[in-house]
């Protein structure tokens, strides 16, 4: 963790030193041998998917919480956040660590540096969702290319994880559709449509943006190694709209 922070600072310094030497224009979208968009690489975290997913809405939109969910998100305290005890962040939550996409013809994987050293697998071999899947932290994801967009459809999530530090909840009816695009070498854009008739009155969409991270590697972040979070987490995370109400 501290090493990551140090490296981030070092990169910031280097970036300012070498800013003049950066290529002015990004390269075109890389493609695989069969002509498909190649999403492989290390991508930066989008801060809008960390503290409060309200940050990832289009301007003027709001999250259509059902009353019980609106009450719960105001009541949830940081100490009860599953990530505080080193559990996976679920989907589409991000943490302030980069992640890597590994792409093969039959699968796309996301390897997370943190919060837990874990992976998510997306089947692109044409299989459907299973009929009665076990609910899991990363759900069951199937993907296909629509033109240059990778469309990922996910179900079978457990109800445990939160969407963000704010504590937006969901139920086992959660259905997520992510649409990934790589318009050029350096940028990854994704629209994430969340449909959960158990907790929200209608579907809503979050908009994500990540940058390709050159010249770095995923470090190893093992949350369980020395986790002292919970005893120090008091009250509610202040970086969300509900803490100000």
């Amino acid at each position: 963790m501290s090493k990551r922070l140090a490296v981030v600072i070092a990169f910031a310094v280097l970036a300012s030193v070498f800013a003049a030497g950066q290529p002015a224009k990004t390269k075109p979208t890389p493609r695989t041998a069969d002509g498909k968009v190649d999403f492989s690489g290390i991508w930066s975290a989008d801060p809008h998917f960390i503290s409060d997913i309200n940050d990832a809405l289009k301007p003027g939109e709001s999250i259509p919480l059902q009353p019980w969910a609106a009450k719960l998100v105001k009541e949830r305290l940081s100490k009860d956040d599953p990530t505080a005890v080193c559990l996976p962040a679920g989907v589409p939550r991000q943490v302030p660590h980069p992640w890597r996409i590994v792409q093969t013809p039959t699968h796309t994987f996301i390897l997370f540096e943190g919060n837990t050293h874990s992976y998510r697998q997306i089947f692109t071999d044409g299989r459907p969702h299973p009929e009665d899947p076990d609910p899991t932290w990363y759900g069951h994801s199937i993907g296909k290319m629509e033109g240059d967009t990778l469309v990922v459809d996910s179900v079978a999530f457990n109800e445990v994880f939160w969407f963000d530090f704010a504590g937006h909840p969901h139920t086992d009816k959660l259905h997520i559709v992510e649409r990934f695009r790589r318009p050029d070498s350096d940028h990854l854009n994704y629209d994430v449509t969340i449909d959960d008739p158990g907790a929200y009155t209608k579907a809503f969409t979050l908009y994500g943006h990540s940058k390709y991270m050159y010249g770095t590697e995923l470090f190893e972040y093992v949350c369980n190694e020395n986790n002292q979070d919970v005893e120090h987490l008091v009250g509610k995370d202040s970086r969300n709209k509900y803490s100000k109400q």
Binding site: V102, T106, E225
Partner: protein, 352 residues
């Protein structure tokens, strides 16, 4: 007894019930006329002609999972390391990574676990059901000379003909090399050589060099069987880990509470028992029971002969959650035994 039963909780957490597995047929693999995967079909290859190691593999490693040094002579292990192993056994393995939901590090490549191998030209990823991943870079980068020690270490690979050679170093010294607790230092360097001999078989030899612990490098060979038409099942250790609350007692407690069983009864228990049915495993488990005087021993899948101690005339502890012999007629030998586990009792029928 209680301690022994509870000590296997971590196994339960990493040993999900396969009956719930997805059974989607793996697309694109050769099949025989009856639709079954043709495990003897030729080794699949990638577009660039390299063997393709991609797939879900069931590593058959009962011996080295328990004891990576099983083939070494006693003198090959320094006394301090042997003493540490004995202490870890006496503590019922409560400091094994599994009990603390920590990554297994180098033990992932020799433990009896499922692994999904994902192969790309520049990167191979190995995925474990506990959601831990391991990256092996094939892009020509060298290993660092002074890496920050990490749980999973650092791995680079290259092709030597049809063999994938993986060199790894930079491990921290917090992990064990096996269930018994053989230690390693930060100087550990492993060299794995993987060969997919046909569709269904993956052979691996790993050479373990750690001069700070083991005077000589040693090599173990482990086979994996393809697990087609199934998938990894997410098993998140942290989700409900109550292990440490219950991980009490010592191995020697069983000795203190041992019940005396007549020699002639123990002799009747001796035999080979095979799991019925084999459940989700590719290979049915076997337990060999031997009697020596007043002592009874069990060897589950060749993990090594382990003393088991009586808590009653037919119940013994020392392997998994215990072993119970089914004695229908006191004058004859038992027909079956149960190997107990938190997920249930598993019946093994006597075959000889």
């Amino acid at each position: 007894m209680k301690a022994a039963v509870l000590a296997i909780l971590s196994l339960a957490l990493t040993d999900p019930v396969r009956a719930q597995w997805l059974n989607y047929p793996t697309p694109g693999i050769p099949r025989t006329a009856d639709g079954k995967p043709n495990l003897a079909a030729p080794t699949p290859r990638t577009a660039d002609g390299k063997p393709d190691l991609t797939g879900v593999w069931n590593r058959i490693s009962p011996k080295y999972d328990a004891n990576i040094t099983a083939d070494l002579k006693p003198g090959d292990i320094p006394p301090w390391a042997q003493a540490l192993v004995e202490k870890r056994k006496e503590d019922l393995g409560k400091d094994h990574m599994a009990a603390h939901c920590l990554p297994f590090g180098p033990e992932y490549s020799t433990a009896q676990r499922y692994v999904k191998i994902v192969q790309t030209p520049t990167l191979i990823v190995m995925l474990d059901e506990d959601l831990t991943y391991r990256q092996i870079f094939l892009d020509g980068r060298p290993l660092e000379s002074d890496p920050q020690p990490a749980w999973m270490g650092y791995s680079v690979g290259h092709w030597d003909g049809d063999t994938l050679v993986v060199d790894s170093a930079g491990f921290n010294d917090k992990t064990w090399l096996d269930t018994q607790g053989h230690p390693h230092s930060e100087a550990l360097h492993t060299t794995e050589r993987y060969r997919r001999t046909d569709l269904g078989h993956l052979e691996m030899e790993t050479t373990i060099q750690d001069p700070k612990v083991y005077a000589k490098p040693f090599t173990v060979a482990i086979s994996s069987l393809l697990a087609p038409d199934t998938e990894l099942l997410e098993a998140v250790c942290n989700e409900n880990n109550k292990d440490l609350d219950h991980w009490v007692g010592r191995a020697s407690d069983d000795e203190k509470s041992e019940v005396k069983v007549p020699r002639e009864t123990l002799a009747k228990y001796a035999g080979t028992y095979v799991e019925q049915p084999k459940l989700w495993r590719t290979v049915a488990r076997t337990i060999v029971i031997t009697a020596e005087g007043d002592a009874l021993f069990g060897d589950l899948d060749g993990r090594g002969k382990t003393r088991i101690r009586a808590t009653s005339a037919s119940n013994f502890v020392g392997i998994q959650g215990g072993v119970e012999f089914v004695v229908k007629d006191p004058k004859t030998a038992p027909t079956d035994l149960f190997v107990k586990h938190v997920s249930g009792n598993y019946r093994f029928a006597r075959t000889k």
